[in-house]
């Protein structure tokens, strides 16, 4: 029952998308119907020509006006069909374009912990492949459905006026077809759903394995992984064939009726001519008989078209279900977020206060049980603790990236009461796994403040010690980077991410392992830069490095889900052995 409601809601969502542009929708549905009406005229004229030539013995010159009329009808009909096709394409593209944008905005408005818990390959496949899978529903299935609902019956009624037996044959057989088709289609739809899920898993798997290609090669997994790729593809083939076996069955049903219609009309009309069948008061002419024969395939053609595009509907519905599953709901139209201007100058360091803060991971496991902290404006603290103990989680909660219970106050104002752009202006955070984007080093630094001029980027690069390695590159800061900083070491990526932060004017800085990939000498230089930037700012650093901790005012450690004060130096100076 619940499932059924869901499917109904998914269907409604699809139709909502279609209803957004009613004028275009009318053209998409109406033009093919007009072209269909001309088909009747075309068949009548052609049958008339044959009748006059074969039965009445008319000469070619006398028939030329009718042949010219036939040609004109043909051209107009083709033009109408062409315009219908163009309208359908525009219609589909407009819907997909809007939907893709809504989905991306929707994704980016969610919590980063939500996206982090999901496969980025599968999510991107949802935005690309699954949205693309909707195309056929709007451009092919909808017009085909309207044609199938109207044209066969209209053609049958016209045939009825010529010969009631043929009309009756059409009238009875045509509506039967959708029944058979629906029977065959149901199976196809269920199978198509599982196929969409398989396709998405495959996409996620590829992204994952490609990321680890080097590791797989190093461990000699080339052959084994290639075999697994083949196995996954084969699984998709088996699933797809299950869909196709049933989907094609419904088109075989149609083929059956269409062939039967032609054969039935030919035999019935032929036998009537031979007087072997006689149910008529008036004589049937060749013109009428030929017209019926010409119309016979056309009666079933709209239904055949619908069958050919029926799996477009099944794929679209499966894609909708997949979108809903992947995004935890169907995206509604969203208003684009207005860009917020950065304020020019800092307004002095902020205070930070934590009262009974508790944070759980996405599975609900408590990570931080009860953290309390009072940090005066301009204070600098380090948070130590073994990995996985919740340092990052706590910083993310303070940055407003994670839900928490208890109270976090910045400058005495509760986090929940500060609006997001304001919050981002006051608080800057460097995560443990900063991401670099395709573009130059300077472009990546400029993510911190997009209107930053060259000099500002340069200053930030120097302060974060990016310039140290960038200047050795032939193009300096303009050096293009591959995706995710391909070609850079972990320490270099971290320093670029730090430079981003230096372009801003935060009042509270949260750093998560800023020097994890740096050697002691570079670490010291980077910390000098940080000290300079963090003057007149409040600073919280989660770290393993005792060198970092030594430079802070106070040191805390996380134990038992609480923040505990710790002595500033707990073990020997780590810089001894390495240098």
């Amino acid at each position: 029952m619940d499932d059924k409601d869901k499917i109904v809601a998914q269907g409604r969502w699809l139709n909502q998308l279609a209803g957004a542009d009613r004028v275009l929708l009318a053209a998409v549905l109406g033009l093919p119907l007009l072209a269909g009406a001309l088909l009747v005229a075309q068949a009548a004229v052609l049958a008339g020509v044959l009748h006059r030539a074969i039965v009445e013995g008319a000469v070619l010159t006398g028939l030329l006006p009718q042949v010219a009329l036939l040609a004109t009808i043909l051209v107009v009909r083709i033009a109408l069909g062409g315009f219908g096709e163009l309208a359908a394409m525009r219609f589909g593209e407009a819907i997909k374009q809007r939907l893709r944008f809504d989905m991306v905005v929707d994704l980016l408005q969610r919590s980063p912990t939500w996206t982090a818990a999901r496969s980025s390959g599968a999510l991107s496949s949802t935005v690309l492949e699954q949205v693309e899978a909707l195309d056929g529903y709007f451009t092919r299935y909808l017009p085909a459905m309207v044609q199938a609902a109207i044209l066969p019956v209209a053609f049958a009624v016209i045939a009825f006026s010529v010969d009631w037996i043929v009309g009756l044959l059409f009238l009875i057989s045509a509506p039967l077809i959708p029944v058979f088709m629906a029977l065959a289609g149901w199976g196809a739809e269920a199978a198509s759903r599982s196929q969409a899920a398989a396709l998405n898993r495959l996409s996620g798997r590829f992204a994952d394995r490609l990321r680890g290609l080097v590791t797989l090669k190093l461990f000699g997994q080339e052959a084994a992984e290639t075999a697994r790729v083949r196995a996954a593809s084969e699984e998709l083939r088996v699933r797809t064939m299950r869909v196709m076996r049933i989907a094609f069955l419904s088109s075989a049903v149609l083929e059956f009726f269409a062939a039967l219609g032609v054969a039935g009309v030919a035999l019935y009309v032929g036998l009537t001519f031979l007087d072997l069948v006689n149910v008529h008061s008036t004589e049937l002419t060749l013109s009428a008989g030929m017209f019926l024969l010409l119309m016979a395939p056309e009666v079933y053609q709209p239904l055949r078209l619908l069958a050919a595009h029926y799996h477009d509907r099944a794929s679209a519905k499966a894609a909708v279900a997949e979108i809903e599953r992947e995004l935890d709901g169907l995206p509604a139209a969203v208003a684009p977020v207005a860009a917020t201007a950065m304020a020019g100058a800092a307004e002095g360091p902020a205070s930070l206060e934590l009262r009974s803060v508790a944070v759980s991971d996405p599975t609900g496991r408590p990570v931080i049980a009860e953290a309390d902290l009072t940090l005066e404006p301009g204070g600098r603290i380090a948070i130590l603790g073994s990995s996985g103990i919740g340092k990052s989680t706590l910083l993310e909660a303070i940055a407003g990236l994670r839900p928490f219970s208890g109270v976090i106050r910045v400058d005495g104002q509760a986090l929940a009461d500060i609006d997001i752009p304001e919050l981002r202006r006051h608080i800057a955070m460097l995560g443990q796994r900063p991401r670099l984007f395709v573009g130059s080093i300077a472009d990546n630094i400029r993510l911190g403040r997009r209107d930053a001029d060259h000099a500002a980027v340069r200053r930030a690069a120097q302060l974060a010690r990016v310039a140290d390695f960038a200047d050795a590159l032939p193009e300096g800061l303009a050096t293009p980077l591959g995706e995710d900083g391909l070609g850079l070491s972990g320490g270099e990526i971290q320093r670029i991410a730090l430079a981003r932060l230096y372009l801003r004017h935060p009042r509270l800085i949260l750093l998560d392992e800023p020097t994890a990939h740096l050697d002691v000498a570079t670490e010291a230089l980077v910390l000098d830069g940080l000290a300079e930037f963090a003057r007149d700012r409040t600073l919280v650093v989660a770290t393993h490095s005792l060198a970092v901790a030594a430079r802070m005012d106070k040191v805390f450690r996380i134990g038992g889900g609480k923040l505990l004060p710790a002595p500033k130096s707990t073990s020997g100076d780590r810089s001894m052995g390495a240098a």
């Binding site: 680890g212 190093l218 094609f248 032929g270 981002r424 995560g431 395709v438 993510l447 995706e483």
Partner: protein, 552 residues
């Protein structure tokens, strides 16, 4: 189009299914032509027959029924076998392409990951049209059109030439013209698709950074730009397809009118009778069924050609290192030697210059040095992911360039700085290190890296699935899964590249102190910037491209 031909060997493997599909589709088409033609002839002949004349109705009516059933069955079979064959081809293509990627590793900055995913999935799938849409239907249409032309030559010679010209223009020239006209737009659509995927991946993978820097609107804007570009490219393709489809229908209409005029003239001259004229006209109408399908998919053929060219660009790129033609065996043992090695990604600025290193079998050596000094390059040279510009790297006296790469990687294991945890079970993640490892061995190694208790707490234990990039694990736990995997391998030499980054000092110190014990009996080379414990045999420091002893 030439790019598609490069994939012909893969098609060759599916000769049987291809022939079957072709045959079935030809039968379907010919049965359709025969059915409508025979019906037209029969109907007209019946209309003209005088009462009581001996008109044989049994042969034509049996023919009509027979042809309809042949058509129903062959159509179903054709579709099924065509799709099955196409999907088999897809599996072959995916596996083949994946296998081709491995020798090219490391892919470096040549291809972004988003782009690569797009190539593998979308491009390979775009190639499915090559047979189902192009080769199959074109051959069928040409054969059926040839047959129809032959019938016209015999029955209505006046119409044969017009029909042949218009038919072959519709089934050959228009699709070819469409492919050529769509080439640029098709390539543009594929490129825009890759750009959009990259934009979406950037948005998802960099979500936290974008959020923190209040740059989500810029990311959404980048995606919107790519999406608009994709939409425009698709509309360009659609316009061409609509024009081509109209053109084909006009040609079909022309063929109908031409045959009609020639037929009427022949009828007037008495060289053709009425029933045959009706039959031929209806057969001509039926024969154009072949062209309707061709045009709809020819746009996708253009896209497939672009996809094929991109796939070829990957497979044709030179491998990072060349395998020796006649590899020499590696003598047993774990003795590693660098002799006057020079290497630079930019040869003008070598990272390593005149580097020499000798590590005896069973030794445990640490290499330290400032970040960016080239420490990781030493590991890459040892695994032969790159070759030195000068000098040699040897394992037990064998130059690495002379030995089999797979054998080398069986003898030297490397845990890279960015080794990933795969979206798979703990067991599958560990077994990458050693395919046949039994659970006991897995637990032993998990205990050794202090993960035993954690894994026992997971639902499903060894069967617990860990997330993409190990994000359901903490950074430290993810590193330790990779460590466990590496320790599991049976290599004589194990290289660790920053094995403890992301671990806290206590765990780092504990782990490094245990390393010599864990790797006892094997050679261990540990690249690190951490404090090196006393348990190591030697510590070397990389400075200005050379190694110096820092401690003995």
């Amino acid at each position: 189009m030439r790019a598609i031909l490069a994939f012909a060997p893969l098609l060759g493997r599916l000769k049987g299914p291809i022939t079957l599909t072709l045959l079935l589709s030809l039968i379907t088409l010919l049965a359709g032509i025969g059915l409508l033609g025979l019906s037209g002839w029969f109907l007209t002949a019946a209309a003209l027959s005088t009462l009581g004349s001996a008109f044989n109705i049994f042969a034509p009516s049996a023919g009509v029924r027979g042809l309809s059933f042949i058509r129903i069955l062959s159509r179903y079979g054709e579709k099924l076998s065509g799709h099955d064959m196409t999907l088999r081809l897809l599996s072959d293509l995916r596996a083949w392409l994946f296998a081709r990627l491995f020798p090219l590793v490391p892919l470096a900055r040549r291809f972004g990951r988003g782009d690569l995913v797009s190539r593998l999935l979308a491009d390979v799938e775009a190639l499915d049209t090559v047979f189902l849409v192009a080769l199959g239907p074109i051959s069928t249409a040409v054969l059926a059109g040839g047959a129809m032309t032959l019938v016209l030559v015999l029955a209505l010679p006046g119409a044969a030439l017009t029909y042949a010209l218009l038919f072959f223009a519709a089934v050959l020239l228009v699709p070819i013209g469409l492919v050529l006209a769509s080439r640029a737009a098709g390539a543009e659509a594929v490129a825009a698709n890759a750009m959009l995927r990259q934009a979406v991946l950037d948005g998802i993978d960099g979500h936290q950074d974008l959020m923190l820097f209040d740059a989500t609107d810029a990311a959404a804007g980048a995606a919107a730009v790519a999406s608009g570009r994709l939409s425009r490219a698709r509309q360009g393709l659609g316009l061409r397809a609509a024009l081509a489809s109209a053109l084909v229908q006009l040609l079909a209409g022309g063929a109908l009118i031409g045959t009609l005029l020639a037929g009427l003239a022949a009828l007037e001259q008495g060289t053709l009778d009425g029933p045959l004229l009706a039959g031929l006209l209806l057969a001509v109408i039926a024969s154009f069924e072949a062209s309707a399908m061709l045009v709809r998919s020819a746009t996708r053929l253009a896209g497939a050609a672009a996809a094929a060219a991109r796939l070829q660009a990957i497979t044709d790129s030179a491998p990072a290192v060349a395998e020796p033609a006649a590899p020499l065996p590696i003598p047993p043992g774990g003795d590693v030697r660098f002799e006057a090695v020079r290497f630079g990604y930019d040869p003008q600025h070598p990272v390593l210059d005149g580097l020499s290193l000798a590590v005896r079998a069973g030794e445990c050596v640490a290499i330290t040095g400032p970040s960016g000094a080239g420490k990781s390059t030493i590991a890459q040279l040892l695994l032969r992911l790159v070759d030195p510009d000068a000098g040699t790297v040897k394992l037990n006296g064998s130059d690495l360039r002379a030995v089999n790469g797979a054998e080398l990687r069986g003898r030297i294991a490397l845990m890279t700085q960015d080794a990933p945890v795969f979206l798979d079970t703990i067991r599958a993640n560990l077994r990458i290190g050693r395919d046949d490892a039994v659970d006991d061995a897995l637990w032993r190694v998990l205990e050794a890296v202090h993960l035993g208790e954690f894994v026992r707490s997971l639902p499903g234990q060894l069967d617990a699935v860990v997330g993409e990039a190990g994000r359901t694990l903490s950074a430290g736990q993810a590193r330790r899964v990779c460590l466990a995997r590496t320790l599991l391998s049976q290599a004589d030499v194990i290289v660790f590249d920053e094995p403890t980054s992301g671990l806290d000092v206590e765990t780092e110190t504990a782990f490094l102190s245990e390393l010599p014990e864990l790797t006892r009996g094997r050679t261990a080379i540990v690249i690190t910037h951490a404090v090196v414990p006393e348990t190591f045999d030697r510590v070397l420091e990389l400075r200005a491209g050379r190694l110096e002893a820092a401690r003995h």
